[in-house]
């Protein structure tokens, strides 16, 4: 078979709409976020880890989580980057606007971390361990976008 041989390419646009259930734990989190600009985690009765995002079960102890605790709105950067690569956003089918700051944030009082946006795109100004604070939107609708981004705090 010839390696140079080229065959036809047929274009196709996958375009589907999904309906994701946020679940009972997500409902509680997003209700608090929308109505009170408050961030909540769920604590394991055994290992006392506080999970954000909250969920029904601690995967480590395999215990049900029933206790809710407030976390944040300040936290610490665990990992970060500034996304510069151009790529197609699967949520729109269009190029996602870049650059944007992207961090894994450990909210105060939480044991796990959350993916979210940073308000900074200058790599020289961001570091692991830096303190950040959630900036909430004025008009909230009950989604993670109710947090506009995390703002770097002055040292």
């Amino acid at each position: 078979m010839s390696r140079e041989e080229t065959t036809l390419r047929v274009p196709f646009l996958l375009d589907m709409e999904y309906r994701y259930a946020v679940g009972q734990y997500g409902r509680r989190f997003f209700t608090e976020l929308r109505d009170h600009a408050r961030l909540m985690g769920a604590r394991c009765p055994e290992c006392e880890r506080v999970y954000v995002p909250p969920r029904p079960v601690c995967g480590i102890c395999y215990r049900e989580l029933h206790e809710w605790v407030e976390v944040g709105p300040e936290g610490t950067i665990v990992g970060w980057t500034v996304v510069r690569l151009p790529f197609i956003d699967p949520m729109t089918g269009e190029q996602r606007p870049v650059p944007y700051g992207f961090a894994i944030i450990r909210l105060d009082g939480a044991s796990t971390s959350l993916y979210h946006f940073l308000d900074e795109t200058d790599e020289r100004k961001i570091r692991v361990g830096q303190r950040v604070r959630a900036v909430f939107r004025e008009k909230r609708e009950g989604s993670l976008r109710d947090i506009l981004h995390f703002r770097l705090l002055e040292e």
Binding site: M1, E5, T7, L8, R9, V10, P11, F12, L13, L14, D15, M16, E17, Y18, R19, Y20, A21, V22, Q24, G26, R27, F30, I88, P90, M91, T92, G93, G142, S143
Partner: protein
């Protein structure tokens, strides 16, 4: 409890590589020709053609041109205005069947249709839709 749903899209563009056999098939459609391949071992004639017989596990190299006419094996109707009629068509000389649209036929006549022929589009591009539809052969 009431539902809490997040609606979200997944939109991704793709390009499928058609491969050796399908490339010849699609190129042929642009010229109003229907190409099939025939396995040298089991003698099955494949449409759409393929370069490999999975049953015999051997490469297929023999090409055959088939007439643009065949037998309507089965059909289904999607209610719409006008209704969308899909047929399963076995071209004469083929062992496998193609799915395509049916046209020039009334719903109440479908039961009696046995033979169909390809109706070609004027502006052909090397696509399965170069066949506009299959119509009853009269």
């Amino acid at each position: 409890m009431s539902e809490w749903i997040v609606r979200q899209k997944i939109r991704i563009p793709f390009h499928y590589t058609t491969g050796r056999a399908l490339t010849r098939f699609l190129t042929g459609l642009a010229e109003c020709r229907l190409w099939a391949t025939r396995c040298g071992e089991c003698a099955r004639v494949y449409v759409p053609p393929r370069s490999f017989c999975g049953r015999c596990w051997r490469e297929i190299t023999e090409w055959r041109e088939l007439p643009a006419e065949g037998e309507l094996m089965s059909y289904t109707v999607r209610p719409a205005d006008p209704p969308l009629i899909l047929g399963l068509i076995r071209l004469d000389g083929a062992d496998t069947a193609l799915v395509h649209r049916l046209g020039e036929v009334k719903l109440e006549e479908l039961e009696r249709v046995v033979r169909v022929r390809a109706v070609w589009r004027e502006d052909r591009t090397g696509s399965i839709l170069d066949i506009a539809y299959f119509a009853p052969a009269r």
